[in-house]
């Protein structure tokens, strides 16, 4: 029986080759997309999953009045360990925030993300160096570098660890002991580093509660009450802070619970101290994947139902020969299962082809054949899910046919299923229209962001990496003068922050009676000139005014608005225990991109609470760029006398452009999804219209004999579908509008939603429909009536 049914299924599929191809093709493409999304979601939600006590590891963070942070004071880890028996292990981690060189006589490498780890944290995260085994009681720092670095530092050399290497530039290097190599190819972890230093206590018994430079991790015992622990740690922390000298009503601790415990599994996607954009993206992609599969399932269902009439007679006959309805339901489900299986197999192949593109776009290493069985379990679930979603309805409809009505030959698809089919078709179009309109709006916003004045010019600015501090203006003078001699160099400056989207420091400043926490950036002369920032009132910093290096400040418009002063120039603003005289106000510029509004910011040359001024920017004439860069490179050791080993630079343009990367990813995904949904919807429409047209061939022939023109026939066949598309547009527009509005609201600087995406979506959908339907209609109209009516 099974064999026969199988044979019949194959014959049926073969007989309706075109529909079968459309069904399976559409579904397999959608499944391919879904497989990629699934891999991505699994990857993104699986950070650190292979850490042994994954579920019991938490990061300790602090609630500050205006934001949350995962920076904690050094002694916290130890007091938690000492006070709470339910905590098994605690430890600290500390990141470096600048690039520095590691060198030997033979070679030099740059570390970009060095890390300090307590042994206990390293162990907690299963981070194990090779080479000399770490001595857990050694209070000193033990440095480990990857093989790649090691080979550059010690080319062709037998090394006995520990071995001395120098950290920092040649002229100001510090010697440390290299203990071995560490290989962490897997970047699928929250703890990322290129080189790492392990120690018993990376803070060297630091007891200071005033500065918060460490990240604290704890591992709790099985079954520990996290909420209670969080409260206890909070109380402990407040006691300790007060013991260390803070007042009980200090605004940083008073009246709130400060400490929070953030589980390891949330750290990558939605850390409490950080943004949950990643989580939203993963979530949205997952939704998109499901949506696409559902559209494909709808398509499948629709086409199968549409073809059901062809199988009706078979159902009637089989029932009369003694088949139960259930037998037939199974038979049809099995047929659909076969098609789904085939689609899945094809989908896997397509996914394999798509993955490299996706990996490049998102910068991740996804692979189907990762040796991970979860995917195959998931695929099995998908297979069953898709079979049920797309198959159950047709199978039930088909197997429920009454033999009497189908065998009598007055078989009519009932109005009920026709209604359903039309709604499903409309639903596909609604989704396609949302994607078309959405894509156009996303494109528009991105175009706006690229073209819109960001308030400064990044195109001729080169950012030079450096770790020598130039905190005092006169320290930088010599370097500046040397650079200014190079032809094409217009301006040179150094600052604590550059406009690449990074967040500068914040501090409390008082202007008049108003006290407020605002951003501060420590700059040098020519900062505004280098970036071509516009002056609103007053003046820029100038070497002609001695006081500028001692106590002058410039505010941006937002800061002036924040303090609500009308004529700020000449007034005094107080912060970091000193008075600044405001000498100028500059126009706001979008140093941090388009998503957040420009922060109120104060710029000053002198700042006792400073961040280090190490970021050098040079404004160079576009025409002399190459020559100037070459000159800078060759003269760099003499220009930058301490950190002059290598001339390393980036174009500010490119740095700023990276801020758009997330949105560009979104754009690509949207583009892909839009194409896919349109493609699937058109496939569905094609098969659907082919089918209805075929069913009406007899009617068309008779009408032609009665004298209808071809045009009238085209009109008749198109009208119905045009109605469906129009209705879909009417439903799709408001949905697209709401979604686009929500998305645009994540930008402080955004476009107004224009009309044309909607008009274009309507146009595209209508034209595609008329084209698709007319191809079918042409065939029907061209068939000679004699041919069509012969078999009656």
């Amino acid at each position: 029986m099974f064999k026969l049914n199988f044979k019949i299924a194959l014959r049926n599929l073969w007989k309706n080759k075109v529909y079968t191809a459309i069904n399976i093709g559409g579904l397999s493409i959608a499944l391919a997309a879904f497989i990629v999304v699934l891999l991505y979601v699994t990857y993104e939600t699986g950070y650190d999953k292979d850490v042994p006590n994954y579920d019991r590891i938490y990061q300790v963070g602090r609630n500050l009045p205006d934001h949350k942070t995962d920076y904690t004071p050094a002694p916290l880890a130890k007091v938690i360990q000492d006070n709470f028996p339910e905590v098994e292990v605690t430890g600290k981690m500390s990141t470096t925030w600048f690039e520095f060189p590691i060198q030997t006589e033979k070679g030099r490498v740059y570390s970009t993300k060095a890390l300090l780890l307590d042994y206990k944290v390293a162990k907690m995260f299963n981070i194990r160096p090779e080479g000399k085994l770490a001595d857990e009681n050694d209070p000193g720092l033990q440095l480990y570098v990857p093989k790649l670095f090691f080979n550059k530092l010690f080319p062709n050399e037998q090394v006995i660890f520990p071995k001395q290497v120098s950290l920092g530039p040649k002229k100001a290097g510090q010697f440390v002991k290299l203990y071995g190599t560490i290989e962490r190819t897997d970047e699928h972890s929250n703890i990322k580093f290129d080189v790492v230093s392990l120690s018993k206590d990376i803070s060297f018994d630091n007891k200071d509660y005033g500065t918060n430079n460490f990240k604290t991790f704890i591992q709790v015992k099985r079954g520990a009450n996290i909420e209670a622990l969080q409260q206890k740690i909070d109380q402990l922390y407040k006691r300790e802070v007060i013991k260390a000298g803070a007042s009980a009503n200090d605004y940083r601790i008073a009246g709130r619970s400060v400490i929070f415990l953030d589980p390891l599994k949330n750290l990558h996607l939605k850390p409490m101290a950080g943004s949950d954009t990643n989580y939203k993206i993963v979530f949205a992609l997952f939704g998109l994947g499901i949506l696409i599969v559902i559209i494909a399932c709808i398509n499948f269902t629709n086409l199968t139902i549409a073809q059901a009439t062809k199988r009706a007679k078979e159902v009637g006959v089989r029932k009369v020969l003694g088949a139960y309805q259930l037998n037939l339901t199974y038979q049809f489900l099995a047929e659909i299962f076969m098609q789904c299986l085939l689609s899945l197999a094809l989908g896997l192949i397509i996914a394999e082809v798509l993955l490299p593109v996706f990996n490049r776009l998102f910068g991740i290493p996804l692979s189907i054949w990762h040796g991970d069985q979860t995917l195959f379990a998931q695929l099995l679930l998908i297979l069953i899910g898709v079979t049920v979603i797309s198959g159950i309805y047709p199978a039930l409809v088909l197997s429920a046919y009454k033999p009497a009505s189908v065998l009598k030959g007055n078989m009519q698809t009932s109005y009920k299923t026709r209604w359903l089919r039309n709604s499903l078709l409309a639903a596909q179009f609604v989704i396609a229209i949302i994607f078309i309109a959405g894509l156009l709006i996303v494109n528009n916003q991105l175009k706006y962001m690229r073209a819109e004045d960001k308030g400064f010019k990044s195109s001729q600015v080169v950012f030079i990496k450096n770790i020598q501090f130039y905190n005092k203006a006169k320290d930088f003078e010599q370097a500046r003068n040397k650079m200014m001699k190079i032809p094409g160099v217009n301006y040179v400056t150094v600052a604590s922050d550059i406009p690449d989207g990074s967040k500068p420091g914040t501090n409390t400043y008082k202007l008049g009676e108003q006290e407020s926490s605002i951003d501060f950036i420590d700059v040098d002369f020519d900062y505004f000139e280098t970036l071509d920032i516009k002056l609103k009132s007053g003046r820029f910093f100038s070497r002609n005014f001695m006081a500028d290096t001692a106590g002058s400040a410039t505010l941006n418009e937002s800061a002036v608005a924040r303090y609500g002063v009308t004529n700020p120039v000449g007034k005094i603003i107080r912060g970091c225990d000193m008075d600044y005289k405001i000498v100028g106000v500059v126009k706001d510029f979008k140093a941090q991109g388009f998503e957040a509004a420009v922060e109120p910011t104060i710029y000053s040359i002198k700042n006792p609470c400073n961040n280090q001024k190490i970021k050098i920017m040079v404004n160079i004439d576009q025409r002399s760029m190459t020559a100037a860069l070459a000159a800078l490179k060759s003269q760099w050791p003499s220009i930058n006398n301490l950190d002059g080993d290598d001339f390393r630079y980036e174009f500010l343009d490119e740095l700023y452009g990276r801020l758009f990367k997330k949105q560009e990813q979104l754009q690509s995904v949207f583009f892909f999804a839009a194409m896919l949904t349109i493609f699937i919807a058109v496939l569905g429409l094609f098969a659907f219209s082919a089918f209805t047209t075929n069913n009406r061939i007899k009617e068309i022939s008779i009408r032609k004999i009665l004298g209808a023109t071809d045009f009238q026939m085209f009109k008749m066949l198109n009208t119905f579908f045009i109605w469906i598309v129009l209705i879909s547009n009417v439903i799709g527009w408001p949905l697209a509008y709401i979604l686009a509005k929500n998305w645009l609201e994540t930008f402080a600087y955004r476009i107004d939603i224009p009309l044309f995406p909607f008009v274009l979506a309507a146009l595209i959908s209508t034209v595609l429909t008329v084209l698709t339907v007319s191809i079918q209609a042409r065939k029907a109209v061209k068939t000679s009536p004699a041919e069509a009516l012969k078999y009656e």
Partner: protein, 227 residues
């Protein structure tokens, strides 16, 4: 075997009832050979469909082998199809995707006849109908008459107790038609199979023991003279 009491069938269309069958009361005993005749649209196919439990009467009582059909479960009805009833349709109704041999084999599959026996029975009947050469063709590769033969073969292969045939010879050449009638007669007399056939032909009708004349849904009976 079949007892019909006061069977009524009408279709309501916009509130107007159009009757197809009125007060049909008749018995068909095991081993009878009954012909149903009447003009087009008289309700012959409808009556046969009701006999075959494909349609339900609007009113009336119908017992098949002593069981009330109205309250019959699907399971029970399917059992009857498998073991007792063989249909021959006016429009053949072969499954297009099955070959001749597969079409004939299908009822045996549902009856769960073992494979080897299925093969031999199918081969037998193909032989009997002179269709061995056509066994691997699909219905659309056959002439109308040949399809009719396959339809009949399919009804016979499962050894039913009763055959319900709607114009079984409508598309056959008269010599072939008579051969089929002879076959029916033989099955009826030698194997005791009950046969109910709808026919337009007086010649065919007299093969039966009796004829039901349908006119506008009303039955008139007549007993055929044997011979």
């Amino acid at each position: 075997m079949i007892e019909l009491k006061n069977i009524e069938k009408y279709y309501a269309n916009k509130g107007v009832k159009s009757y197809v069958l009125r007060h049909v009361t008749t018995n068909i005993k095991q081993g009878e050979f009954v012909s149903i005749m009447g003009p087009s649209g008289a309700g012959k196919s409808s009556l046969l469909n009701i006999l075959g439990m494909l349609e339900e009467p609007t009113y009336g009582q119908y017992e098949f082998m002593g069981e009330d059909v109205v309250s019959l479960s699907e399971r029970k009805r399917v059992e009857l199809y498998r073991n007792h009833i063989g249909f021959v349709f006016q429009a053949y109704h072969l499954i297009d995707e099955m070959t001749v041999a597969e079409n004939i084999e299908a009822p045996l599959l549902y009856k769960k006849v073992p494979g080897s026996e299925r093969k031999s029975r199918v081969a037998d009947i193909l032989d009997r109908f002179n269709m061995v050469a056509k066994s691997d063709l699909f219905p659309n590769q056959l002439s109308g008459g040949q399809q009719q033969l396959v339809g009949i073969a399919r009804a016979l292969v499962a050894h039913p107790t009763i055959i319900l045939a709607d114009e079984p010879t409508g598309n056959l050449q008269s010599v072939q038609a008579l051969q089929i009638m002879d076959l029916f007669k033989k099955l009826n007399e030698e194997d005791g199979i009950t046969i109910v056939q709808v026919t337009h032909s007086e010649v065919n009708a007299v093969y039966g023991n009796r004829t039901l004349h349908l006119l506008d849904g009303v039955v008139n009976e007549e007993r055929n003279k044997i011979g």
